[in-house]
Symmetry: D2
Subunit: 435 residues, 4 copies
């Protein structure tokens, strides 16, 4: 995800066709715009101006920056491009809130985003109100311009990506506070229970992956293409905390045999003994989450593991990670529903008792696939072509969305990607095996 988003070009670099006048949610583009933009503000509501200002590490951004950058996106790619009366809201914002678009010009250095105590949170909220007004006016007057509609769709999908990053970044920030404050109070939705692991047999052969159909997709999901798969087995659910604890108890973090060479160097260098948000507390574990510090529930999926850890766990369990094609092929027959961010509980849930489950929501699933362009991939035209293509290197693909992903955002063909050491996303493990 990584703040990247781009139009989905076909051979002619067209923008994706949006299913107007109403999409699957049944709302118009105006309604969708208002709904998604409002949700960002709602996510920031439990936080103080101080919470929204601080950057906890170079990979994370302040909440205020997310609120400003997503607005900058609409100002730059919609208003500046389509609004004949465009004037920038503030002369400095073009640079301050550019993330990485070299085609747009200079940008404020990423590790310095947390230095921006000015503009204030209140000023950024004003900025949002202003841009929203201009965008909605533009939609009223030029709502039949398909280029504009497609750019707005892109901006909304981009904003949803930042909604997830906002949550994972603030989780990382609050975790560093010795007071362990909760982002949101509340109790877990019912007691979890243990679902046995089953191995689901999947046939191989020449299959198709990649986005198809009329709806929105990012350019990295295209073009749909053929790939040859051997038959394989896929685990019915995510690896649980309880299973991962057995890996730890078996010396998982002390035995190089479980790890890739680079992963083992990482464990030794960082002196790691457990997932990032776990705290040893006597003879049991506590886990820090957006709902505060709680006793680790062995029946819930393990989350916030890096690729290194997912890969090591799989090796220890005499299994492997699936490829992204295996994952997508298996997902074709699964209903696109799950534990997403909209249900009020920002943590994974336990798997149901049987069948292929948790493919969507709960936790992003590491695949063994390095993030690479699909055959005949063409980046989107213009500045938005920088969103995905330039990151296809030394990162690995994750699939399926998480409990922090907005409902309706992911697709079966959706490709998230992070470097092998990233742990602050809701990333989990689904095992695979050769059949």
């Amino acid at each position: 995800m990584n703040e990247r988003a781009a139009a989905s070009p076909r051979a002619t670099n067209e923008m994706p066709r949006v299913g107007d006048p109403q999409d699957a949610c049944g709302d118009t583009l105006q309604q969708r715009y208002q709904r998604i933009r409002a949700r960002s503000a709602q996510l920031a509501a439990p936080l103080s101006a101080e919470d929204c200002c601080v950057q906890s590490m170079p990979d994370a951004s302040p909440v205020k920056w997310h609120l400003a950058h997503t607005t900058w996106f609409f100002e730059t790619f919609a208003l500046e491009a389509f609004d004949s009366g465009f004037k920038p809201w503030h002369g400095a914002y073009r640079v301050l809130f550019n993330s990485y678009y070299n085609s747009i010009g200079d940008k404020h250095p990423r590790p310095q985003r947390g230095m921006l105590t000015r503009p204030s949170l209140a000023e950024i909220k004003d900025y949002r109100v202003h841009v929203d007004g201009r965008v909605l006016a533009l939609l009223r007057h030029r709502g039949d311009d398909s280029q504009l509609r497609q750019m707005l769709m892109l901006g909304l999908n981009h904003e949803q990506q930042h909604q997830e990053l906002l949550l994972t970044d603030v989780k990382h920030l609050l975790w560093q506070n010795p007071l362990h404050p909760a982002y949101r109070a509340g109790d877990a939705p019912g007691r979890s229970s243990h679902a046995p692991l089953e191995w689901i047999a999947c046939s191989g052969g020449l299959v198709q992956i990649g986005h198809s159909g009329e709806g929105f997709a990012f350019d990295n999901e295209l073009p749909r293409h053929s790939i040859f798969l051997q038959p394989y087995l896929l685990a019915s659910r995510l690896v649980t905390n309880g299973e991962y604890m057995r890996f730890i108890d078996a010396g998982g973090y002390r035995r190089p045999q479980c790890w890739s060479a680079e992963g083992w160097d990482w464990v030794v260098r960082e002196k790691l003994t457990n997932p990032i948000y776990w705290f040893a507390d006597g003879d049991h574990w506590q886990e820090f989450g957006l709902h505060g510090l709680t006793r680790l529930d062995p029946d819930l999926p393990v989350v916030h593991v890096s690729y290194y850890e997912a890969d090591a766990y799989a090796r220890w369990a005499d299994a492997r990670l699936p490829t992204e094609a295996e994952w997508e092929h298996a997902a074709a027959s699964v209903t696109l529903e799950g534990n997403f961010a909209d249900n009020g509980w920002l943590h994974p849930s336990a798997a149901p008792a049987s069948g292929l489950s948790q493919m969507f929501g709960d936790a992003w699933e590491w695949t063994q696939s390095s993030y690479a362009p699909y055959p005949r991939f063409r980046p989107a035209a213009g500045a938005v072509g920088e969103y995905n293509a330039k990151f296809m290197l030394n990162q690995y693909v994750l699939r399926g969305g998480s409990c922090a992903t907005p409902a309706g955002h992911v697709r079966r063909s959706y490709r998230n990607f992070f470097p092998t050491g990233a742990r602050w996303q809701f990333s989990g493990i689904r095992l695979a095996r050769d059949s």
Copy 2:
């Protein structure tokens, strides 16, 4: 300064005798307590909660942390020690706001101070109000306890040190913001003018330095002792921006001959070409200050130079830095007044036309003296013994106070100290020569 402060023990590790019932300012200890504590809040008043939360570098602290730590100091060393009914205001603060007192116990890591978005600024203000109430009540009931009075004097001097750090730290933070916001609006107090440099002849011989008399002093100013000096010449005023520009124009930052070996390595490694808060703007310089970005005034003292730069400038000017004994000996005959922080203008002023001037206020003056214990120095007893003694290594002494120092805080014997690379303090240059 560096957040260090300690009682001034004599041979018996007594605390310094406070000149009660009224000091030079004419106010009682209660009044002084209220006045100095209120000033900290006033210094934070122009700042938002966001401004007060962010840490701009490991050497600097957030404003909120300064406000909390100085309060922690009174809570820990006055209330906990002298108030029989003491209860901590918050169980976690003892660790969160401990700076470096190993005798007190654990401390929150210094580079992580900026992660503390909680407790909020409002909560810290409540903490201040609570502790102030308890301290004043204690003074009412036990105001005749000289140990308590001395500890409160120490705490107030400690708070004044943090008032200066608060200003230099927030200056460093705002400087990193591309918007260059001013801490405080306002125009410079009148046009500066050029004062010619004179060399003041000082006699040597066996002289005395170190604190004497009844008033408060830190332990590092004691004991007063004899030292033998050769005759020397001292510059009548600080080096100006205009003089420093000539050093730059003469290739000062490109010629290793001007620098110590370590200083030159520093220039090359950091790729330096000018003092920290200067911005090249076409063919002239701008300077960032607490009053915003303005054109560099050649008649004002150069500030924010490191020891390396002060030493290089002196070598280029065929002079040297004074020793701290030379400085103190010359200062003995100078009235203790100058451009301090209380006059509303937080920047150095130009020197008057003639005579030994600017010895106090305007800018801390680097000396060539490594910070070391005076002969027969004894650290204060107890935890406060950690304040000064353990820093007497690889730092250099600065003298005289600056435009950010509270009036009434410094003495002729006052020893400030920083590492050779520090630039974010109001540090300037006074030259000396052998006569």
Copy 3:
């Protein structure tokens, strides 16, 4: 390559079957052993004991270490495993010359290999003589043991990998010497000439890649499997220095648009403007090579470029890098011959006038394929299973061998691999395009 080598297991983890009694070169295993082992000594012959001792960077190893480690490999995996009268030649060598085999036990830290002035080069030569004698005696007595024969074949292929590393490592060492000493004197074999670039059309479909047949292969080349390819175009020859100079002249190292995001960060951080062994000399370039410093020949292939540079060049040239499957599929019809290390000239040569050329030898060709296990890959059994499998992460595959690779070492299915920033190998660029 990276000092990794492993047996080629099939489903049952068997060792590869060696084509006894005589291989393609027509010599017996004894003869091959003596020939390959002697070649290592010959490669070190132009070097002094000093040249053989120094480590120029953590990624490189001293020549002496290569000579010792390859011997350790035979001592550990052949003598210790198969020789009933085995006694270690020196008690400390098991640790000193273990590269990365955790199953064997402790190892001397890689960045410290250059500290080993003892044992001396002469002692390592004695070690080689001793182990060679024992291995040849073992072959005489147990030459019909196929397990032993396969392990020796593995050791010889391993030694050939280190012969190439020895050359690239010593090139890196000599390059750092301001005297620019040549590894070997000599003139280039005739004047190069310009071959125009052609695009070779390759059909796609469901093709097979991976090792087949009876000969030796590493485990990472197995199993042979199906993969679906779209039709594509492959450049007829490697990119030349002249072409790469045009990339530089067009601002290649100054324009982020040409680069992946990570590649651009690398260029900025390392302040790069050209390939590693180039020296600007007035208005032309010099190139450092194993034959010393010479004027850069525009008709020769560009070498010593990283993946980042190869990828950026391809983007600038409106092309892309081939996948490893595309490369291997095209290589199926090409005769396995080229400019290898045995011809006495350790530098790439110019391409012939037409046709698909330079597929083997000259320069390793970066592919866009992340190094990953083939479907149903199984690492070799035992300690040798550590050689390849644990490196399948964040590295990219190179194909075809180079002018520093021993003739007869590479295969069409051979997979070399290095991290994206590696530049000290003879790595070059072959372009591809969608057709």
Copy 4:
């Protein structure tokens, strides 16, 4: 020492007057030149070309580099300056073997000295023979030129400094080798015995320190000047290994209270638990020395401690380090003899039974004095003025010479200096106390 040496200028920057025709050793300058130059070759004799080539850390230099640089010194400052027929022996050596003299021009980067496998050790030996021949011829023809004689005296003292560095650098190199090779075989000269610690009372007052008389001195020992001392107590001997073990056993490396703030950060960051060359071996200690690995003798002086460690030990022992003036004042009455490098045993010896002992030889003694210019100090004129003056910053003075110092090299006024973290010199601890 640090490879710095300079003429001792008086007010007029004269060179020091050399006590010709014969010095205290009774030999002529010719004889002295030959004797000292031959000793460098003798020190390298037990080492292989490999041993002489490798650089074990940036602070250390290869033995070959020492041999070349000291020769470069004579070639550059004597032959080039005084020999009308001068031609450089090799065009590249002027840069390769320049240590830090910016006035001479470019220099090979210090951390890259170990990359110089060429020129070979044999070539450097030829270089030495050549320069020696030219220097002796020059002495024959212009031996009455006092400027030349003084420069040669400087070069010989410089060479003696490098003789000590050669030994400490090679010790550091061999220590890193798991084989723990000895530089020189041999048994300790007799069993050591325990000398009780006495406190020697020294009177204070206005005393003189700095070089006096006609003999050679470096510029940093001048001018002789007055300083006022309080009465003090000086330990009769160096701190022993046994005493230091009690510090360790008392938790010295685990208790921040013993350390300066910077020292404690150093201990934590480097994870230190003991002096650098100690190895824990079951329930006792081994010590690595130039004579190999032996059981730590509790009666010998502790050596290879940093300033941080010396300071921490002193604090723990309720004492302090002496100032350099205290040391020199006490040394005035001590005969200049001790355990120096010429006696064949390159390790400290135990103290004799009583009286102020070990002031010279055995171990350099850390003082609490930051290395600073003496009052009215003037660097030597010309390039040699770079030797000492530019290092007077963030280093501390050591006094008295060590078991690796050539006999006859040190003086009572001799000032060695190293940064506070340096441990690879033969540095030890003598305690002082206020009386």
